[in-house]
């Protein structure tokens, strides 16, 4: 019997790897110096640790350490990249392109830019969750300055073809920003080869601490940004504020471990994910959300038709998972990501995201499959929609009393 509850929400956040935590601790106590202090050993030691971490982060994504700017997390990185580039390059044009399935940390800065007089095109993905590159190409205009497309989607785990999108952007003179919060350690990233100008990273999705992230800002060709945080001119003026040495050291260690272990780790996780999918897909009316091939190994997002997501999560409370159901959000709207794929509201309401990670065991997956089999059946026995489905009634033909 595994220890309960079982954590299957690694896309929300990950625990700090104990090896990472151990490396961080001295930087909270004896190695507390400010890396900006140039006049004594406390500062020099801290600065050295920060620069080593910068190299470790750069190492995972194959870029120059000088291209890494520390931030408080991927949300700040997205804001700095999108608003910073749009404001700097607004003389060239005021049109931006993004995708409806992006994270709110991309969509909300885009909305803010619209309020500032920019124009934004929001592309619909294909039902697989992937972007049709012809539609992307067609959306580029003479006044387009920036496109932002995430590498890996946080809900459905699909991997966008950022290599080709980068080629298209470079060919048209459009800056390309990629939110890679969900992909570090899961999908390989080679910035020496990719035509990506700006890329956002987060530590806490990759077994590092919360509250720290980074933005990659390409130097060749050089990308300029309007700073969003003004102060002491840290990070070459792009992001002022005293560096959080212990967090930075943690992010560096976490990314170094990811670089060392991702190949073997991802194979193990893929086996577990496939086992989970094999186990749940024997249930009737279970639908996979998002493409299964172009997908990170640790994500499974499935809709259990005729069962509402929140009530299913209550039933499987021994599993820590997330749902696209409206009932789990403050807005009472089901997942905008699943709706953008063209999933109907029922399937969006019935979706559960399982995300597997470094500390998931095979026993955890066996337990999850058993639990789902037991409770999906129980909730369907309670569901009038399941009865109607079994009686052969097409739910779309029913006149519902809307409320």
């Amino acid at each position: 019997m595994p220890k309960l509850p079982i954590y299957l929400d690694y896309s929300a956040t990950t625990p700090i790897d104990p090896r990472v935590a151990e490396i961080m601790i001295p930087y909270l106590t004896e190695k507390f110096g400010n890396p900006a202090s140039r006049s004594h050993a406390f500062g020099w030691d801290a600065d050295q640790a920060v620069e080593r971490a910068r190299e470790e982060v750069a190492g995972l994504v194959n870029c120059d350490p000088k291209e890494i700017v520390w931030t408080s997390g991927a949300t700040e990185s997205d804001n700095l990249a999108i608003k910073g580039a749009a404001q700097f390059y607004k003389g060239k044009g005021k049109h931006l392109i993004t995708v409806r399935t992006e994270h709110k940390a991309v969509l909300d800065p885009m909305r803010e830019l619209e309020r500032q007089g920019f124009e934004v095109t929001y592309l619909d993905p294909e039902p697989s969750g992937l972007l049709d590159l012809d539609k992307f190409r067609a959306a580029i205009r003479a006044d387009t300055i920036l496109a932002s497309v995430m590498h890996v989607n946080n809900e459905i785990g699909v991997i966008q073809d950022i290599e080709t999108i980068g080629e298209i952007c470079r060919g048209k003179g459009v800056l390309f920003h990629v939110d890679a919060a969900q992909s570090t350690g899961k999908a390989p990233i080679d910035l020496a080869r990719l035509k990506v100008d700006l890329m956002s990273f987060s530590a806490h999705k990759t077994y590092g601490p919360k509250g720290i992230g980074a933005l990659y800002v390409r130097r060749k060709p050089r990308i300029r940004l309007e700073a969003q945080m003004h102060g002491g001119g840290h990070e070459r003026g792009m992001r002022s504020g005293t560096l959080a040495t212990h967090q930075i050291v943690g992010m560096g260690a976490a990314f170094r471990i990811a670089a060392e272990e991702m190949a073997t780790e991802n194979e193990r996780i893929r086996c577990l994910r496939d086992k989970l999918w094999t186990g749940v897909s024997t249930l009737d009316e279970v639908h996979l959300n998002g493409d299964m091939q172009q997908r990170v190994p640790h994500n499974l997002n499935a809709s259990f038709n005729f069962v509402e997501g929140e009530s299913l999560m209550m039933a499987i409370k021994d599993l820590a998972v997330s749902s696209g159901s409206a009932c789990t959000s403050a807005s009472l709207e089901p997942s905008y990501v699943l709706k953008a794929l063209g999933r109907n509201d029922e399937l969006a309401h019935s979706s559960i995201r399982f995300s597997i990670g470094r500390f998931t065991t095979e026993q955890d997956i066996d337990f999850a499959v058993q639990l789902l089999h037991k409770h999906v059946g129980k909730l369907r026995d309670l569901s009038p929609l399941w009865d109607m489905h079994r009686a052969g009634i097409d739910l779309n033909s029913v006149q519902w009393a809307a409320h």
């Binding site: 009530s311 209550m314 009393a401």
Partner: protein, 140 residues
Amino acid sequence: MSYSDKVLDHYENPRNVGALEANDASVGTGMVGAPACGDVMKLQIKVNDAGIIEEARFKTYGCGSAIASSSLVTEWVKGKTLDQALAIKNTAIAEELALPPVKIHCSILAEDAIKAAVADYRNKHEVVSAGYAACDPAAA
């Protein structure tokens, strides 16, 4: 979402789950909500010759509080006359289950389910209904 113990109890041990014969003249069926909204409640009542609800059954697709609200309502309507059942207000359901504000609509849906079931029963008996649109029993 943190729920009260009463919601959890109704959710874990729902009362009166099931179906009554929808075509039976003594049965009234109400189905409210829509799958697109994330909740559908089906409430059925069986009314005896004295005009008393002697049995109630439900099936609900929805969140924990929707399931709990409908389960509670099946307990409350039993033994009541149709008019007494119609007097059950959503506020009483919400209060009994200590529903959080974002879940008040579940109690409203449960009240609507009672109205719809009673209206269906009364339609069958050609009593002028209160103008509430009952659902089509054939679809239930």
